[in-house]
């Protein structure tokens, strides 16, 4: 039963990892940009929620309503003002600049909020649990997180698959120059993609802050888990990202069950195993490279 419990907890944890991974995958898919500050943006959002809770006396869940639009607007501005200038020169300039953002965000947070760990307290839901019988119980909040991940991925899938903006995302990803000739303003579209990416990672950051404590330096771990989820699932597949998150989550909880210190390590080992056996990930869409 304890093992089953570990698996169930791992699956639910996977929902959170998928939330972190989705925005990363979207940005890479649309504009081949690797955002090394992705995890730090989620922590930045969590700190913004801390401020919103203190200043506006909001419940952290309501803080989402404030923080998510702020992060989205920031993402749009960042893309238009900075990141768009780096595109078309290979992958390295963007890697360096987003690494710089990562350093700036961490040190900025350290300056303003000190190194103390923080937590968002939504008032009880984070500890409430649902008994499934047989001694098995799952946290309401974990369940909610997982459901949120599924709903968000579903919505994103619809956006990309069925709307004009989604078609433009795919066309630009295929061939940016020709997309411009069809009337698509790539730079504006990239701004929109980054806004979407940071909106989703802001949700992930606030959810994280409710589940667990965080500090200014919590971002890079999140980035690593997000990368692992994306790569296990396969680039370009949204549902693959969810599966990747779930596999990583289960590996971590089952590993921790084996020995309390092994959780993260087991996750990394499973990731490496997938990389070895299926380098393109489990659900990668085959793409022509030209």
């Amino acid at each position: 039963m304890a093992w089953l419990d570990a698996v169930v907890q791992g699956i639910l944890l996977g929902g959170l990892y998928a939330l972190f991974a989705t925005g990363l995958s979207l940005i890479f898919g649309v504009m081949r940009l690797v955002n090394l500050a992705h995890g730090d943006f989620s922590i930045l959002a969590a700190f913004l929620a801390v401020v919103a809770v203190r200043v506006l006396a909001l419940n952290p869940l309501l803080a989402l309503v404030v923080v998510v639009p702020v992060m989205a607007a920031g993402g749009y501005g960042l893309q238009r003002l900075v990141l768009n200038r780096l595109l078309g020169r290979g992958i390295l300039p963007a890697v360096l600049v987003t690494f710089g953002f990562s350093v700036i965000i961490q040190n900025g947070l350290l300056q303003i909020f000190s190194a103390d760990s923080q937590r968002l307290n939504p008032g009880g839901i984070e500890t409430a649990s649902l008994a499934l019988g047989g001694g098995l119980a799952v946290g309401w909040f974990s369940l909610l997180t997982f459901a949120l991940a599924v709903v968000l991925l579903g919505a994103l899938q619809l956006l990309i698959g069925r709307t004009a903006v989604g078609r433009a995302f795919r066309a630009t990803s295929d061939d940016g120059d020709t997309a411009e000739l069809m009337g698509i303003d790539n730079h504006r579209l990239y701004g929109f993609a980054m806004a979407l990416s940071l909106a989703i990672v802001a949700i992930a950051g606030i959810v994280l802050g409710i589940r667990t404590t965080f500090t200014f330096a919590s971002g890079p771990d999140r980035l690593l888990f997000a990368f692992e989820a994306v790569i296990i699932g396969g680039l370009g597949s949204l549902w693959g990202t969810l599966v990747g998150g779930v596999i990583l989550g289960v590996a971590q909880t089952v590993g921790a069950k084996l020995s309390p210190g092994w959780g993260i390590l087991t996750g990394h080992l499973v990731f490496l195993a997938v990389l070895l056996l299926r380098p393109a990930g489990l659900f990668a869409k085959s793409r022509r490279v030209d």
Binding site: D174, D175, D177, E180, L181, M182, G183, I184, D185
Partner: protein, 232 residues
Amino acid sequence: MSLLAVHDLSAFYGDFQALFGISLEVAEGEAVAVIGANGAGKTTFLRTLAGALPVAHGSVRFGGESVAGRPAHALVDQGIVLVPEGRKIFPSLSVQENLQIGAFRRRTGPWTLERVYRLFPILADRRDQLGTNLSGGEQQMLAIGRGLMANPRLLLVDEISLGLAPVVVKHLYEVLAGIRREGATLLVVEQDVSQVLTVADRVYCFRKGTVSLAGAPAQLSRAEISAAYFGA
């Protein structure tokens, strides 16, 4: 007044100057052909008009307005639409989605999905397949249809004969003639002279980035065209 008036246009392809002072006009409702050998600057010319390459020197007026230096997506709003060389079908989009991308700017006009499907019934049959699963000729139809979906005032067509069998090329030019009869304005670039002269009201021959000959096809002899095309 001309719909498109290009005066003394120079442009570069990378570091290489490809156009040296091109002047050319297209009137509303006219079909104009640009012919010339490989490397004459035809594709650079169309890509410059479409905003994909910068204007180094000279002026481009469209509908009486200067449009040189505007980005490609803004020119689509104005009604300048390019059917690019090599078709450039989006591989992860279905046939129908490729057509819909053409209508991204939502310019209003006569062309709709339905009308494009009537023009190219084969595309309607394959609407759910990936665009790149089509044959070369069908992909070229898709590229033309995608351009029409933008409801262009001026359709720029780059080398539709590229890599296609003569019978397919003939069919595509019949379709272009049909589009033209419905009032479209066309600027067609082509290496294959025989077909393009059947649709063109006027023809410009490019050689080494300059206009080497211009006139109505009926007034030009084969010898003149050949001399302008290959150099005497």
